[in-house]
Structure formats: structure tokens, C-alpha cells
């Protein structure tokens, strides 16, 4: 069973690195968003650095959501999902493997690039590490909440934007605590750990609930 889990994980990681895999697209989309915001706001450095963490978090959220509709759709279309469902691996663990691969190729690179992109929004040096840490802790929640939406729309041929629309409202708590933990590094009365630990809890809960919900949604599709 462990072998089957790692087979799915390895295959999805390999697919993400091939042409059209989508991993690098999320990163480029993130970069584009973060580059565009300063142009829209105008040359106010103080304003920019104050809302910097919010921009980075919004960028990461949208970049994660845009590629999510393909999470199960590809497997549904070419029949690999039937194969996975006919294997010994419980569907929940298959979803966990796919969600993990999605996070490793989307959320993790976004979090690692965040300090670099922080430069573009005049993020103070002391806030860079907290922003990266909150993205690292919070993006698993986005991947797994998104997996539920992706599973619901797996058999829709032109699901496209439905997944982001379905999933975005559910990500509000993650966004609130992610940005609030990042902002605490810029000053204020809230200690960093308070929102950060809630963010970690949100991620852990999303991994469990998202996995079970997505598997249930995939079973309903038949």
C-alpha cells in the first residue's frame, strides 16, 4: 500500500515537471500579480510595504487556485482514475498523495519564492521570514481545500473557473490568519505565534477533512 502511495506521488511529481505540468505556471502567475500591484498602487513605498504581506498572500492564493481544476480532471479523462480506484490503495490515500504532490509543486515553490518577491513590494527585511513561514504553513490548507473542489468538478468537461469560485470563500480563514501572522512581524500588539499556530491548525484540519471530502466526491461521480 505504501508502494502504491509513493507510485502516485512520484508520477504526479514527474508530470508536474513535464510540459504543461502547471507547477511553473503558478509561480509565473504569482510573479505577474506581485509585479502588477505596485504599478496599480502608484509610487507610495510606505503603503506598499504595509500591504506587502497581503499582496503576497493574495498572489499565492490565486496562483494556487488557478491550476487546481486539473488535479483530478486529467486522471478522470484518460482513465487513470479508474485504475487508481481499482487498486488496493484506499481512495483517501490516493487523494492525499495527489494533494501532497500538488503542494510540493505549487505551494512549496511559492513559499520559497515569497522573500524574493517581497523585494518587489518593499517588504521590510524583518518581515520576509515570517511571510515565507506563514505561506509554508498555510499553503497545504489551500491545496487540500482546493482538492475537494477539484474532486467535485472532476467530471465536468469545462470546469475551468468553477473550482476557484467554489473554493475561494472556503479559504478566507486561511487568508485572515496568514496575513495577520505576517503583519505581526511588522509591529502591532499580536504576537506572531498566536495567528501562526491557528494557521498551522487550519492546515492540519484541511488535510484531513479535504482528503476525506475529496474522496467522497470522487466516489459520488459514478
Amino acid at each position: 500500500m505504501r508502494r502504491a502511495f509513493f507510485a502516485i506521488l512520484r508520477r504526479d511529481l514527474a508530470l508536474a515537471t513535464r510540459a504543461g505540468g502547471g507547477g511553473e505556471l503558478a509561480l509565473v502567475f504569482f510573479l505577474t500579480l506581485v509585479v502588477l500591484v505596485p504599478f496599480a498602487l502608484g509610487p507610495d513605498l510606505n503603503l506598499l510595504s504595509r500591504i506587502g504581506p497581503a499582496i503576497l498572500w493574495l498572489g499565492a492564493l490565486l496562483a494556487t487556485l488557478i491550476g487546481l481544476d486539473r488535479l483530478f480532471q486529467g486522471d478522470e479523462e484518460d482513465g487513470s482514475l479508474d485504475l487508481i480506484r481499482a487498486s488496493v490503495l484506499p481512495l483517501e490515500l490516493a487523494v492525499l498523495a495527489k494533494g501532497l504532490a500538488h503542494w510540493l509543486t505549487t505551494g512549496l515553490p511559492l513559499a520559497l519564492c515569497a522573500p524574493l518577491l517581497g523585494l518587489l513590494v518593499a517588504l521590510p527585511a524583518e518581515a520576509m521570514l515570517p511571510v515565507a513561514a506563514t505561506l509554508l504553513a498555510g499553503t497545504p490548507a489551500l491545496s487540500f481545500i482546493g482538492a475537494t473542489g477539484a474532486a467535485l468538478t472532476a467530471s465536468l468537461k469545462r470546469g475551468g473557473l468553477i473550482v476557484p469560485v467554489l473554493v475561494a470563500p472556503l479559504t478566507v480563514p486561511v487568508l485572515i490568519f496568514g496575513v495577520s501572522a505576517s503583519n505581526s512581524a511588522l509591529g502591532g500588539t499580536i504576537p506572531f505565534l498566536t495567528p501562526f499556530l491557528i494557521l498551522c491548525a487550519l492546515s492540519l484540519a484541511a488535510i484531513v477533512i479535504g482528503t476525506i471530502a475529496a474522496a467522497a466526491a470522487l466516489r459520488q461521480a459514478d
Binding site: R3, A4, F6, A7, I8, R10, R11, A14, L15, R18, A19, G20, G21, G74, E77, D78, G79, S80, D82, L83, I84, R85, A86, S87, V88, L89, D222
Partner: protein
């Protein structure tokens, strides 16, 4: 050439297998007055059959008669609306470990090479038998093992999907239109693979429109 490759591979496999287990454990699939409904619509009703070691069934019927639905039922993806479908003699081996599925869609990733696709299937299904290279040689595709599946023709993709049957060892093969897009020599190869599987004590259910070409296969007609 393909048959001889397949035969030599199976000879090799048989030698190896005699060391491990000579043939598949006894197995009996029984369907009793199974009724299938999808979306409230009656697809077929009162279907009964049984299948044991070394037996093959060719499922026939018009389009939409429920051949694929029956295969989904045996996989456990659909539940019978009435009647029962059970597998005896497998002990405590769960159903998914008995089944090899080649559906009407190939289940291949076009961005991965044929070898990578088979290595994935082997990891997913377990019970490793032939290596991906051996399996591709057996279906006559050793020369394209490193090419992405997206570059292969429909018939070649079908052969890669069929090669999946060889990379891991499962007693019950469920094939949905296995010969679609295959040329004459590949169809002969498929018959060779199926015969070798039956000789080892495996069982086959194949949904098909054309003749299966398999000696001793019973025909089960669904619907009118």
C-alpha cells in the same frame, strides 16, 4: 514475431512462477440475477453467470447495453440495484487485489513515456511480474519505451495499456474493448496473452463487439 516474443516471455515467466506459485489460487465469480440502474434508468436486469479458473467470458451486446457498467460493478465502483455479485475462494484477499482493469480509456499519461507509465502501474498494483521493459517487448513496443505516450498511435497506446496486464500478477482480467484500434498482428498477440493467462489458471471477462478469437470463451449477451 509478436507471438513468439509473448510466448518466450511467458515461458520465462512460467519458469519463474513455478518457483513461486504454480498457478492462481482457485477463484469463482458468481452473479445472480443482477440488475443495473444508472441515473434511474434500467440498463439490464436478471443477469446471471459464473466464472472460474481458466475460463473466459466474451461480453457482447449493442452499444449502451451495459457492458462497461457490468465491468464497473465487478470492480466495485457501481453497486447492483438488485441481485448479488460475489467472488468466492479468494480467502481474505480484497477484491481490488484480484482485478486487472484495462478500460475503454487507456489510462495512460501522455506526458510520460511508455516505460514510466508501466512502472507507475506496477507500483500502484503491486505483485510485480514482468518488468516494464519485458512487458513492452512482449507487446512488440520495446523500441518506443522511452517515447512519451503522446507521440504514439492509438493502436500503440492500446498495446501499452495491454502491457500493463503483464507487469503485475492478478487472476481476473477485466478488459473493455481490448482489441479496439489493434491491427491484425496485435490482435493475435492479444489472443496469445489471454491464452497464456488462462493456462495459468487466470480468468478473463472481455467486453467486445468483434469476435474475441479465444478458444473456449463463452459468450454472454447483455440486453436483447
Amino acid at each position: 514475431m509478436h507471438e513468439s516474443c509473448a510466448a518466450s516471455l511467458f515461458g520465462l515467466r512460467n519458469n519463474v512462477l513455478t518457483l513461486r506459485h504454480t498457478s492462481f489460487p482457485s477463484l469463482a465469480l458468481t452473479a445472480e440475477t443482477v440488475t443495473c440502474r444508472r441515473g434511474g434508468r434500467l440498463v439490464f436486469e436478471g443477469l446471471s453467470f459464473s466464472l472460474g479458473n481458466g475460463e473466459a467470458i466474451a461480453l457482447t451486446g449493442r452499444n449502451g447495453a451495459g457492458k462497461s457498467s457490468l465491468i464497473a460493478m465487478i470492480c466495485g465502483r457501481l453497486l447492483p440495484a438488485e441481485g448479488s455479485l460475489r467472488i468466492d475462494g479468494a480467502g481474505d484477499v480484497p477484491l481490488p487485489e484480484l482485478i486487472h482493469l484495462v478500460g475503454h480509456r487507456d489510462g495512460l499519461k501522455t506526458a510520460l513515456s511508455a516505460g514510466e507509465n508501466l512502472a507507475f502501474a506496477q507500483g500502484l498494483l503491486g505483485e510485480a511480474a514482468a518488468s516494464p521493459e519485458e512487458a513492452l517487448t512482449a507487446v512488440g513496443l520495446a523500441h518506443v519505451a522511452a517515447l512519451p505516450v503522446g507521440y504514439l498511435s492509438a493502436g500503440q497506446r492500446r498495446r501499452v495499456a495491454l502491457a500493463r496486464l503483464l507487469v503485475s500478477r492478478r487472476p481476473l482480467w477485466l478488459l473493455d474493448e481490448p482489441a479496439s484500434a489493434l491491427d491484425a498482428s496485435a490482435q493475435q498477440m492479444l489472443i496469445g496473452l489471454m491464452q497464456a493467462h488462462l493456462v495459468q489458471g487466470g480468468a478473463i471477462i472481455a467486453a467486445t463487439h468483434g469476435p474475441l478469437g479465444l478458444d473456449g470463451a463463452r459468450e454472454l449477451r447483455i440486453g436483447l
